[in-house]
Symmetry: C2
């Protein structure tokens, strides 16, 4: 996973921190882009913690190593896991400072030695082991895929992680077939929407979606039945399907694991693909982590035997970056691009954000305000704050952290799409 | 599950117990068959416990209820689960006395009201909720399948449970595809042999089989690699396939669950389909059950998430008789019969036994002496004991039970095939 930008030594001593105050950043940005071709803008996480740990900085431009391509980034995907990274709430995180982000799209700018399959100018989407939220990214060729001609860069940045995860869970971990039923939490999120679309590619699949009431109108057409996330969904689902469902996709964990298991039909599969219940505030909460961990029902396989049930966990990032899953993911990506080209799946983009707006974007994911994917659009300028807005983010990252998050920020966020 | 024979009230007061001493039984048998057409011979489990709880008795002939067919039985399958039933070592067992056995083949003799799809004279195989080990069986039509013309009754009795279980585990719980690898315990057993054959129906599947050394020659051609059941198979498998295997099929439980999980590749599935380690002697051992139960690693789904692993349990009997799985099993049976007709699968029959030889047959399964399936052949007469044999089973079931089993009995068992 050689990448100059990951290397702490690669950070220039004199790097200029582009503060999150927007007017500042816009000026600095213009300067940065024009002055030094060996530098690039990137989002930097200075240390694990709250939103104040994030800033836009200048970094030394990475160059592709053997087997890598260098990509001039156009758009980056923002995922819930990026919040967990920010809090240091993941398994063996790298030591900050680091550039977050695991996926991007852009144009191949140069190619390392012994690197085959791509040419300068190719439009690509890519997985990156951190470092995606930058103007330039280098990543091994195994993580890079050519984009279909009609796919936009924003769509591409919304495609890789979420559709591959949704596909592998539905068709490789579980075995989705005609006539089955799927329950998906966070149905309005980017994975949820990918799941709903992929389910509609199989005849007669019933999708039970769980989402905040505020999203019900927006996602009504993508699922068969929709429930409020605060409702007693076990009872609601059983009213419609007394025997339960075939597949439960859970990104929450905690108490929802037990509920998911209860809802499974015989031979049904519960798949845990995230633990967003661990993130209850802006900063890491050991209490909430411990609570989620212990609330998860630990399962005796003999009970699974008696009940004919399947429990699985799925982490695409671990599969890609720790478990050598590239070849398998490439096969899945080929199938997904075929479905995209047939018009059967199409990423739902919630909103586009400038790099300098990463805090607001993260807060929106945290508050579960999005329907579909949040994209960092490298070429986007930050939306000027409105005159009435008085809650600007401070410069120095010294503001007090509110573990409950400042939900009232939502109203003033700049949504483009 | 209406079946006259299950009903304790259906046992004739004057029923004659055919003792297991063979000369006795043969005489009584001839009499029983000729005297009363409303009676039939059956294996009876008088109470949970050791082999001495089994005897052949006369029972009132069952008649088919609504939706049932009456089958003149030709052959019955004997499975490890029958040993667990004998010991009462299953979830919510019915109250003895009972007739054991879950599968048989034979000829349709009559048909209940509102029963469609079968005619008198049809050659069939069937699942039965207990009561299979008898001359006549009644079972709901949903559990009955027509036999291919070229299939023998012995093959049919070896087919239903084991091939359906193997198929559903490989293709419905897991998702076996080209190029994958499967580790199967008890590879010489009837499920193990079905698994090996079904794996060979998919291109380029590697089968790691674990079996007693004594079976290695017999099953060498059915698996890719074979290991002794007492070997450190985790290390042995890793020598050949350092990254592990895609599917582990475990009928043992206990310490093997943890080993199976260790051996899984990312996205691999561990499937527990039995707990034969719970049966360590002839009679139920609470110590061994408790040991097996607690030795099973209870799994936190968050760990599965980090490791990209799947844990499943599979019980075909529960699926069929407690969880309404008939329609699903019917679909699987159709696929299996197609594979049989193409010559791609063929049951391996270890040995044929008279009803009166059920103790010896059970002992052989307990001792894991079989390669393939043990069949109770209704029309078979007990093999006369050899002159040198002095360890006949006692009449009254009063013999002392040896919890370790009397393994030295093996040498004198009558194997036909």
């Amino acid at each position: 996973m050689a990448n100059v930008a990951t290397d702490a030594a690669g950070i220039t001593e004199e790097e200029t921190e582009h503060m999150m105050e927007r007017n500042c950043v816009i000026e600095a940005d213009n300067v940065a882009s024009s002055i030094d071709p060996k530098e690039m803008r990137a989002v930097m996480l200075a240390g694990f913690g709250g939103l104040n740990k994030l800033r836009v900085t200048k970094k030394t431009m990475p160059e592709p190593q053997h087997g890598e391509v260098k990509i001039r980034v156009k758009a980056c995907g923002l995922n819930f896991v990026d919040l967990m990274v920010r809090q240091g709430n993941i398994d063996n995180p790298p030591k900050p400072p680091l550039i977050p982000g695991f996926e991007c799209s852009g144009i191949v700018e140069s190619i390392g030695e012994n690197t085959h399959g791509f040419e300068i100018g190719d439009r690509v989407m890519a997985f990156v082991y951190y470092n995606a939220w930058a103007e330039v990214v280098c990543t091994p060729v195994d993580y890079v895929y050519k984009m279909p001609d009609k796919m936009t860069f924003q769509e591409a940045a919304a495609f890789s992680l979420n559709y591959v995860a949704a596909y592998m869970m539905l068709f490789e971990v579980a075995n989705l077939r005609e006539g089955m039923s799927v329950l998906v939490h966070s149905a309005g999120g980017s994975v949820g929407q990918a799941v709903a679309q992929l389910c509609s590619s199989v005849p007669n699949v019933t999708v039970f979606g769980i989402a905040s009431c505020s999203k019900h109108v927006a996602i009504r057409d993508s699922v068969t039945h929709i429930f409020d996330r605060n409702a007693d969904y076990v009872q609601e689902v059983k009213k419609i399907s007394p025997e339960g469902v075939d597949i439960v996709l859970d990104c929450l964990s905690g108490e929802h694991t037990g509920k998911g298991l209860i809802l499974l039909k015989p031979l049904g599969a519960y798949i845990l693909y995230g633990a967003s219940n661990m993130v209850t505030g802006e900063t890491k909460s050991f209490f909430s982590i411990a609570k989620s961990w212990w609330q998860v029902e630990k399962v005796n396989p003999i009970k699974l035997y008696e009940e004919n049930k399947v429990i699985a966990g799925f982490s695409l990032l671990n599969l890609l970056f720790k478990q050598g899953g590239c070849v398998r993911v490439k096969t899945v990506m080929d199938k997904l691009l075929s479905l995209y080209n047939q018009g059967r799946i199409k990423p739902v983009v919630d909103s586009l954000w400038a790099l300098e707006e990463v805090k607001e974007a993260m807060q929106r994911i945290h508050d579960r305000g999005n329907v579909g994917k949040l994209i960092l659009d490298i070429e986007k300028s930050p939306t000027p704050l409105m005159a009435s807005d008085s809650t600007e983010t401070s410069e120095a990252g010294e503001e007090e952290e509110d573990p409950e998050g400042d939900n009232d920020n939502k109203e003033r966020m700049p949504f483009i799409q």
